[in-house]
């Protein structure tokens, strides 16, 4: 059983709270989180015969379909971490996306997402979680 001395002073000896010190703790939340995909799909342009990614412009012209270039959508999020660069074979996408879903274009060099998902804690409504 813990022993407490009868003559021990109960109050803490030195309590100092520096409000500025508190504000100065490392706030890592300021970085722009560029690494998480913001849209539902990535939109690229693909040559059907070779399955290669081509320049986006090739899908913009009115003759696009006739030459075998089609817009191609790759689902972002949990499964996909890489969007290929122009000249790379790409598979596993779709040529249409469901209504209401968003897409974003991707640089010709391609992109590697960090594959980090957020927003999986803290969503239970009102604050004031202590008691």
């Amino acid at each position: 059983m813990p022993q407490h001395s009868a003559t021990r002073r109960r109050a803490s000896t030195a309590v100092s709270v520096g409000v500025t010190a508190v504000l100065a703790t490392t706030l890592a939340g300021c970085a722009n989180d560029d690494s998480t995909p913001k849209a539902d799909y990535a939109k690229i342009c693909r040559e059907e015969s070779t399955q290669l990614r081509v320049e986006d412009e090739k899908c913009n012209g009115s003759g696009g379909h006739g030459h075998g270039y089609v817009p191609y959508f790759l689902l972002l999020g949990a499964g996909r971490t890489t969007i290929p660069a122009v000249g790379t074979k790409t598979m596993g996408g779709t040529t249409t996306i469901p209504a209401g879903k968003s897409s974003t274009s991707v640089d010709r060099k391609g992109k590697t997402f960090s594959g980090t998902s957020r927003g999986g804690f803290g969503g239970s409504g009102k604050g004031g979680f202590g008691g």
């Binding site: 813990p2 309590v15 960090s114 999986g120 803290g122």
Partner: protein, 446 residues
């Protein structure tokens, strides 16, 4: 125990704000602005009373650990938690550290005790072992109050001319600040020994608009810093799951801040730090709910130990659940510090209180006296999965009337590393210590 009244300190509002208590005013419908901090009153203990209450607090805590073991067997079901939540709590309870032989370590918790002030045994109303608040006012603000009242000579005048066998110095039942720093030092040594580093993230929900949650974790983080931790704030919503590496990460940061070498560098040159130690003011029952926005909990089951150190650890789910009261009464019936409590009905009690299992700050409490419902609190916390409730015997709080009317105090008795270290007292006009109660400092008379 007595209640004394004082004149409020000049500039008291600035003083309490400087201590971190910035959330003290709230709005009560039908009444207007209500001030939470009562600068003009204090409850006074004798040293003998404090020693007795400390001993009772520590005994209750040991009983609660036995009750947790009982709850972990599933004897009371899954306690209103999700099945994943119960499973995680059980695993955490059963895990012992091979090196130290100790259970996953905890830092703090707070009992709510009813005490008549006459030396009779205190009665346990509840235990908040997961997310206790009231920390700033108990550890810091009331300590500042003691320093000011001592420096002004008011306390010396109170005891002038009275016989005293002690030192003649007015004390306060409040060693919380020093105790927490010491506990954080122990946690730091354990983390270093386990190879999990010296960095502590502190998590809070950005949805709290009062500032209480943020301020509480910030003050706790400052204590951890004084113990030697390197602390980093994070919103719970910002915690990231890296599905390639199967680890939890913080926000991207400059690699020069990294606490681990060879972290993968992102396209923009930043790195994401691994979360290995985290203090959170966010309830476990929410983390494990599995609902959208709290859907990462399953990862804690699928990847055991992926976050090695949570404060508080998952087994605290047993000590932040009202069914704890039922487990205690079952194991220790008629114990002088307990009130009868049942899960399935009032069991013949004519005066009883019905509490939802995850309630906090008095929410959802219903009081039944002689068959009539006398209070019917609105519930705003998560309900148990099975809408579980606890029926606890009604216990009249003592009244220490003051110049403004009745005052019914509840003692918030703090436990740090299994020992009692101080009390924060909240007084209310009515029988429920709710959101509009007042915090009054305490003193130990010489």
């Amino acid at each position: 125990m007595k209640r004394l009244e004082f004149t409020a300190r000049p500039g008291w509002r600035e003083r309490i704000n400087a201590s971190g208590l910035i959330y003290s005013e709230s709005h009560k419908p039908g009444v207007g602005a209500v001030e939470y901090w009562n600068d003009a009153a204090a409850y006074v203990f004798t040293l003998a009373e404090v020693e007795a209450l400390e001993a009772q607090t520590e005994e209750l805590h040991r009983m609660c650990l036995e009750a947790a073991a009982y709850m972990a067997t599933g004897a009371l079901g899954t306690l209103g938690l999700s099945e994943g939540g119960f499973e995680l709590a059980k695993r955490s309870w059963q895990e012992y550290d091979g090196a130290t032989g100790a259970r996953e370590q905890d830092v703090y918790a707070r009992f709510d005790l009813a005490y008549a002030g006459d030396g009779s045994p205190a009665k346990m109303l509840e235990y908040n072992g997961d997310t206790p608040t009231g920390l700033i006012e108990a550890a810091i603000t009331q300590w500042d109050w003691l320093q000011d009242r001592t420096a002004s000579g008011e306390l010396a005048r109170l005891s002038a001319g009275k016989l005293s066998t002690g030192s003649g110095v007015w004390d306060q039942w409040n060693g919380i600040y020093d105790a927490l720093i010491a506990r954080w030092e122990t946690q730091l040594a354990a983390s270093v020994a386990a190879g999990t580093g010296t960095r502590l993230f502190y998590g809070y929900s950005a949805q709290d608009s009062s500032g209480e949650d943020w301020n509480t974790v910030a003050v706790m983080a400052e204590m951890a810093q004084k113990a030697g931790w390197r602390t980093t704030s994070i919103e719970m919503e910002q915690l990231g799951w890296d599905f390639g590496a199967h680890e939890f990460v913080g926000q991207p940061e400059n690699p020069m801040y990294a606490d681990e070498p060879f972290r993968p560098i992102l396209a923009d040159g930043t790195v994401q730090p691994r979360i290995r130690n985290i203090f959170k003011l966010y309830p476990w029952e929410d983390i494990m709910s599995g609902e959208q926005g709290d859907h990462f909990g399953q990862l804690l089951l699928d990847y055991p130990g992926v976050i090695p150190h949570w404060i508080e650890p998952p087994w605290k789910m047993f000590l932040s659940n009202k069914l704890l009261l039922v487990a205690l009464w079952h194991l220790f019936p008629n114990h002088p510090n307990l009130l009868p409590a049942y899960a399935d009905g009032p069991h013949g009690m004519s005066d009883y209180v019905i509490k939802p299992v995850f309630g906090r700050e008095g929410d959802g409490i219903k009081i039944v006296r002689g068959g009539t419902t006398q209070a019917n609190g609105e519930e705003y916390r998560r309900a148990g999965r099975g809408n579980e409730r606890v029926f606890q015997q009604y216990h009249e709080l003592p009244n220490f009337p003051g110049s403004a009317g009745p005052n019914h105090p509840v003692l918030g008795s703090w436990v740090v590393n299994q020992e009692a270290f101080g009390v924060g007292i909240r007084e209310s006009d009515g029988p429920i210590t709710d959101y509009f109660c007042r915090f009054a400092p305490n003193l130990i008379e010489p």
